[in-house]
Symmetry: C2
Subunit: 141 residues, 2 copies
DNA sequence: TATAAACCTGACCAAAATAGTCAAGTATCA
DNA sequence: TGATACTTGACTATTTTGGTCAGGTTTATA
């Protein structure tokens, strides 16, 4: 089981954005420099975040991104969803008519992974971007 | 984030083994047939399980494997540990002297992954092999 | 004691996913 | 009109995964 860095970068970038979120949009270039994430990669990530309406883009000089909702309303689940970072457990549905392993029943661990998914998602559902900003900078927005 | 099937197979095989655990050892061949897991792959997995003393092997004709502890005492954490299925989150320690991303401080999500790891491990610490056997076969061993 | 069942080990490999890079735009503000 | 910044899509090297394959060793039993 691994957590990929795409999800991690997305969260880092958004915490950074949330922190500097104000009157002016924040450019990806600034985020790239502060967080040490390649600009090209950030663009990929923010493209997805924009499509899921987590951020808004502002084009042109002095453009950049702003949060589309309050930091408190953006849950980590939303972020991971946006960048296709899901908790993928068992792919028991490949041959849809059969159960796992091509047998006629569910595999012995089927329910286990379902429970785990729920467990993890609960964790991410509770955490908001605002929580992370507070934890890191010890101040309210 | 993904869960690999090695961990899943290990759990499946052990649930099967726990169910048929009795006077005679259970052969990998039987497990392979019942669970639809390749024999070669099972051997790799059981080699690791044996090293971590989760199972014992019995050689020779009529040989096979038996559980080394009571099913109730084998937690899923132990199983995943044995097959190197860990919750790997951030590898912030690559350049050990620096923080994440080569910066001097921890990355903004460092604590988050720590918390998540704890959260997931709590889940696996609570679940025992015996729980899974009961869930699947609705009877006590 | 021969033999077959079963364990044991390590090397090897194809496919998929990851973690990006690169190139070529388009939009918009100053 | 030029600079800045977003936008998109193709491409790719590396790593991981999910196994297979070959060649053993051990031991119960016929």
């Amino acid at each position: 089981m691994r957590l990929t860095s795409k999800g991690r970068y997305a969260v880092m970038a958004l915490v950074d954005l949330a922190r500097f979120n104000g009157i002016n949009p924040v450019s990806l270039r600034d985020i790239s420099l502060r967080q040490g994430i390649s600009l090209d990669y950030l663009e990929q990530i923010f493209s997805k975040l924009r499509k899921k309406e987590i951020v808004q883009s502002v084009r042109g000089t002095q453009g950049g991104y702003i949060l589309n909702k309050k930091a408190k309303e953006i849950k980590l689940t939303n972020i991971f969803d946006a960048v296709d970072e899901k908790v993928k457990t068992v792919q028991c549905k490949k041959e849809s008519k059969k159960g796992c392993n091509g047998k006629s029943t569910k595999c012995l661990t089927h329910n286990l992974w379902d429970e785990l998914e729920t467990h993890i998602n609960n964790f991410f559902d509770k955490k908001s971007l605002d929580d992370l900003v507070k934890e890191n900078f010890e101040r309210r927005l």
